[in-house]
């Protein structure tokens, strides 16, 4: 066990999972967050627990990570998950032609996929478009992003982690291993020292890194989600096609989250919602589930995904994989950033980042997050 100290910046699912992993390895962890838990990208999430099927064809690495974590979380975090499966539906010849490619890709990635006839699918989900030609059932699910993150936080805390919400990082002195914070509840500013600083601020990663004069590239890709007050389906409904805009309906509790879109934004704190995105999302959802447009509108929201920047691709083509950055490359020993990833893969992101931190600090400690049951979200506040 290590007695090293780490400060993790950002209490979204990534930061919470890193804090959790490091605390299990014996680190004395402090998790700092400028708002409450899961108040950024994680909170504004379409809430789909991915099986990986969505990424199987074009992004198999992410797909494999999704199914691996999906299966682990089913065992370890049951009370933040709804295990209702997902259905990829084909409504035209183009979708039908995608079926074999999709099924083969799922098989290659180890994602259980079962083809249903249109009749079987409509029996399970009678509100689907009756023009349905084909449907494939996969182990998608729904999670509550807030409870999900709180569960990591609760378990980290039970292993000694200190959780500091409403605390904003305002300065980084990496050479001295110091983080300057402002307690937003009192206005007081002070310094905290540590052996490792981990920047897990999602789309705000560049802003935090800039405090240490370090440049990190992130594609801040915003997406609009529309929530309606009706639950017309049990399963998560996806279009059987390469990932595109407005092709998912996620039922959560008694309502449905429709989405999403993808465009680049500059400031993740200020994302205006384009009305035409809302219209196109509702129109397409109504094609998948006729009549859903008549459901009362509950809310429209937008958040920025912190994608890994790759030359030559943007938005939908960018991998949903993630990258752990050791800023020793920028002459900043003990400072790390993580970009990319998905809420579904938060656990393995935590594992990889903790592996990197342990290697650099010379700490010998195995990851235990694949077997350790997580505490209830109710202990996370």
């Amino acid at each position: 066990m290590s007695s090293r100290t780490a400060i993790v910046i950002g209490a979204g699912s990534t930061g919470a999972a890193i804090a959790y992993d490091l605390s299990l390895r014996g680190f004395r962890v402090t998790l700092v967050e400028r708002f409450g838990i899961a108040s950024g990208t994680t909170g504004h999430n379409q809430a789909q627990l991915h099986s990986g099927a969505r990424y199987a064809v074009n992004d198999p690495t992410s797909a494999r990570e999704c199914i691996e974590d999906n299966l682990i979380l089913r065992q370890l975090m049951p009370d933040a998950l709804e295990l209702n499966d997902g259905l990829f539906i084909g409504l035209n010849e183009e979708h039908l032609a995608y079926r074999d490619i999709f099924l083969e890709a799922c098989a290659r990635c180890g994602i259980p996929a079962r083809e249903l006839t249109a009749r079987q699918a409509l029996e399970l989900e009678p509100r689907l478009n009756p023009c349905l030609l084909v449907a494939i059932q996969v182990p998608d699910g729904v999670f509550d992003p807030y409870w999900y993150t709180l569960s990591f936080v609760a378990t980290a805390r039970s292993h000694g982690a200190k959780i500091m919400t409403f605390t904003e990082v305002i300065g980084l002195d990496v050479q001295a291993g110091r983080v300057q914070v402002r307690d937003r509840t009192t206005g007081k500013t002070y310094y905290m020292g540590c052996d490792a600083i981990i920047n897990a601020a999602g789309p705000w990663v560049p802003k935090v890194a800039a405090l240490a004069d370090i440049h990190v590239e992130v594609e801040a890709s915003a997406g609009v989600m529309v929530t309606v007050k009706e639950r017309p389906c049990n399963m998560v409904i996806n279009l059987l096609a390469p990932p595109a805009d407005a092709d998912i309906v996620v039922p959560q509790r008694q309502f449905s989250i429709l989405g999403t879109t993808s465009w680049m934004v500059v400031d993740p704190d200020d994302i205006p919602i384009p009305p035409e995105h809302v219209e196109s999302i509702i129109r397409q959802a109504d094609w998948m589930i006729p009549g859903i447009r008549k459901a009362p509108l509950l809310s429209c929201m937008a958040a920025a995904r912190p994608l890994v920047r790759q030359t030559g691709s943007s938005g939908r083509e960018v991998t949903r994989g993630y990258r752990c950055i050791d800023h020793a490359q920028d002459a900043a020993q003990g400072f790390f950033s993580i970009v990319g990833g998905k809420a579904t893969t938060a656990r393995s992101m935590g594992e990889k980042m903790a592996d990197l931190v342990c290697t650099r600090l010379g700490v010998q400690a195995e990851c235990r997050t694949k077997d350790e049951p997580l505490l209830s979200y109710r202990f996370g506040l």
């Binding site: 909170g43 409403f166 506040l381």
Partner: protein, 238 residues
């Protein structure tokens, strides 16, 4: 169309007036986020922005509500003013953020979430192992605390279990799924539980998730009226 409104925010340091301009269809939470960009010392909770996480409960013009699903144009009056205060009956952390952890501990003592059974679905277990098993669905209650804030009993009796906790007990008794219910019955069938409720029904009025705690409490009172208080036997079933 845009709206320019005055937010009167009850902060730890006193009431602050902030003028914000937002799209006509904006929520109270959207307006608060604009206010935050003007003054980054403002403290409030938010996460999901669609009434799932229950973290943005507050008092909006004297009534409990979730900021994320309250359209600002439904609460702004002729004077273009919207008053925001932290929820009642919880310790205030700062400004509009309160500490609901003691409420969540009470919930944990009574019931686990996720107990809705499915009608027709096949779960992952069936896919992986070939056997069919019921899947779980989130309970309606999002544990936001609005009912606790609205409850007049909670204001004077902090030991009262409160509406959401009692509703959770009612839910467990409806569908115990093989779990012992005696402890839960004993916990609610006492002076801090269902018999402390004065049937004011404000909890049901403010609930954003249609849990209707007051109705659940009345139903528990009806079922437990002849059961000695705090003396429920293990074998007791309704």
């Amino acid at each position: 169309m845009e709206l320019t409104i005055k937010l009167l925010i009850k902060r730890t340091s006193g009431t602050q007036e902030m003028t914000v301009t937002v799209p006509d269809e904006a929520s109270v939470l959207d307006a608060l986020e604009v206010a935050y960009r003007q003054d980054t010392t403002l403290v409030f909770r938010h996460s999901c922005h669609h009434a799932s996480c229950g973290s943005c409960g507050m008092i909006i013009n004297s009534k409990e509500g979730l900021a994320c699903i309250t359209p600002i144009n439904t609460v702004v009056g002729n004077n273009d003013i919207v008053r925001l205060e932290p929820m009642h009956n919880f310790p205030v952390i700062a400004d509009l953020a309160v500490d609901t952890s003691s409420f969540l501990s009470k919930m944990e003592r009574i019931n686990r979430p996720l107990t809705r059974q499915d009608e027709s679905q096949i779960s992952i277990h069936a896919l992986l192992s070939g056997e069919t098993k019921a899947f779980d669905r989130f309970e309606n209650c999002i544990e936001c605390g609005l009912c606790v804030s609205a409850c007049p009993i909670m204001a004077t009796s902090p030991d009262h279990l409160g509406p959401a906790v009692l509703a959770a007990a009612g839910r467990l008794l409806q569908e115990p799924r093989g779990r012992f219910i005696s402890q839960t019955l004993a916990a609610v069938n006492n002076p801090h539980g269902i018999w402390r409720c004065h049937s004011v029904f404000l909890c049901s009025e403010v609930c954003p998730a249609d849990v209707r705690p007051a109705e659940a409490i009345v139903e528990l009172q009806r079922q437990l009226i002849f059961v000695p208080k705090g003396e429920v036997k293990d074998e007791f079933t309704l």
